[in-house]
Subunit: 292 residues, 2 copies
């Protein structure tokens, strides 16, 4: 029951966004979809959700094309920045509309979430603040009967309290009723302990596709005097570097050389997900500017 994205290409005007991109989304997994601003994350989610058509390539669910396919698309929900709602409609009416479109809706959970977030069900959509529009869309996403739920920037503009409520509710609803969530966000630190598997989209391709624990197990910061660090990481996959005072840090992805002795002056630690991401996706120009 997985979703396969195969050889998807997409260009806008003559600018390539996605180039022969492949990935598989499995059932009952929480994914992080990470990428720089403009990397094409929203484009990818829109293609999978049939909102835009790829120039070429296929999106299938168990070998069945998802293009204009009501049966497969009904099992999928995309929460995005686009507002599809009438300003005049009240929140509770919009819940009913969603129930009608998707065949069912968890009204009891929606009411509980609305209370937790402080959202009044009688408010008209047009009267909601930016933050509460996001909250409304989050509630819909957690209450539709979909097996695959795509959340594009789900916490943009939310304050820290509301973000924490969302993360807690996500973990709770997932453990009570497992399904797949794909979360696209710039707040990587905050989802690092929630997502199981990460896709990193960079240079029009998926450059990392793996379990968070596996990825972090092969991500290192090597810190110490410059000469020692450079000698130790020579030949390894150095994805970035920093310098502060007399101390140099090299960031390594893909494992170390176990046969190489570690100098006493050098400290080796694991990177966190956000730091790994930043170094993996920094363009050469920016990396160069950093060093100067």
């Amino acid at each position: 029951m997985s979703i396969q994205v195969q050889a998807v290409k997409q260009a806008f005007h003559s600018q390539v966004v996605l180039d022969e991109l492949n990935l598989t989304i499995e059932p009952n997994t929480i994914y992080g979809l990470l990428g720089r601003n403009g990397a094409g994350k929203s484009t990818l989610l829109n293609i999978i959700s049939n909102r835009i058509f790829a120039d070429s390539g296929t999106v299938t669910m168990d070998d069945e094309s998802m293009r204009d396919n009501d049966r497969t698309l009904g099992r999928l929900y995309l929460m995005s920045e686009v507002n599809l709602y009438s300003d005049r409609a009240r929140v509770k009416q919009l819940f009913k509309t969603t129930a009608y479109l998707y065949g069912s809706f968890d009204f009891a959970y929606a009411e509980k979430l609305a209370q937790t977030f402080g959202l009044d069900l009688n408010t008209r959509f047009g009267k909601l603040s930016t933050g509460y529009r996001t909250i409304f869309k989050l509630i819909v996403a957690l209450c539709v009967p979909a097996d695959y739920i795509f959340l594009d920037e789900p916490v943009l503009g939310l304050d820290a309290n509301h973000r924490e409520i969302f993360y807690q509710e996500l973990i709770e609803t997932y453990s009570e009723h497992p399904r797949t969530f794909v979360i696209s966000t710039h707040l990587i630190d905050e989802i690092a302990n929630i997502v199981e598997h990460v896709f990193v989209l960079d240079q029009h391709q998926i450059v990392i596709d793996g379990d968070v624990s596996d990825i972090l197990a092969q991500s290192y910061a090597v810190t110490g005097p410059q000469a020692d660090v450079v000698a130790y990481t020579n030949g390894l996959n150095v994805i970035g570097q920093d310098a502060l005072g007399g101390i140099t840090a090299h960031y390594v992805y893909g494992g170390l050389d176990d046969n190489r002795p570690i100098p006493d002056t050098v400290k080796i630690e694991h990177l966190d997900l956000q730091k790994l991401f930043i170094n993996l996706t920094n363009t050469k120009e920016e990396a160069a500017t950093h060093v100067n």
Copy 2:
């Protein structure tokens, strides 16, 4: 040379936003201005910057009113979400306009920042993506010759790489050329190590006004079996609580009772700034919902 906000009141229609609010902004300090969505942070910054007029109260710089006062207002810059720029103007023209308005502008630093962020100086403002509009406004804020720089949501929509560049540049420019920054943001974890002093705006007032180190020194998480935690924190200022499995956490602000013995079953740690903020500003309704 400090800025004094005294007894400022502001209501929109009949809804009170700020009520007899007082604060002092000193020279050469990095402040965090924290508050929930809709707490009135932007309103406060707009009042100080003379963009809106308070219903009552005063804003002064060294006892001189800042209302419509070109001399004092020229020493202050507000970066906000509002776009004040012509879509047709190119980035480098807008730098020149700013130099004209403010008497000078650090063109060399602006060019270096543009290169670091990957912003093309020849782009027209209207062609910039949301992220790059923020970056453009950040560059202007760091290069104007102002003594007081107010940054309202300076990293909204920026990816992790660009946020890291901004934080690094802020620290660097501040240490080379000290001046005051007031940063209003929802990403509290990310600025916790940068700001020296914090204002927390809640219920129309400044409820916390202190140095970060002092504030965190009196913020605690008390964790253990429920009965022991409740007994230990009885009478202390408990601002929030969590429960997970059989473990209860009480969050305390304002210090512990040194004469009270700590049970072996109870663990006491300091809170971080974001967790403190969340517990301080959770409304009673939300706190109640959490406990259920």
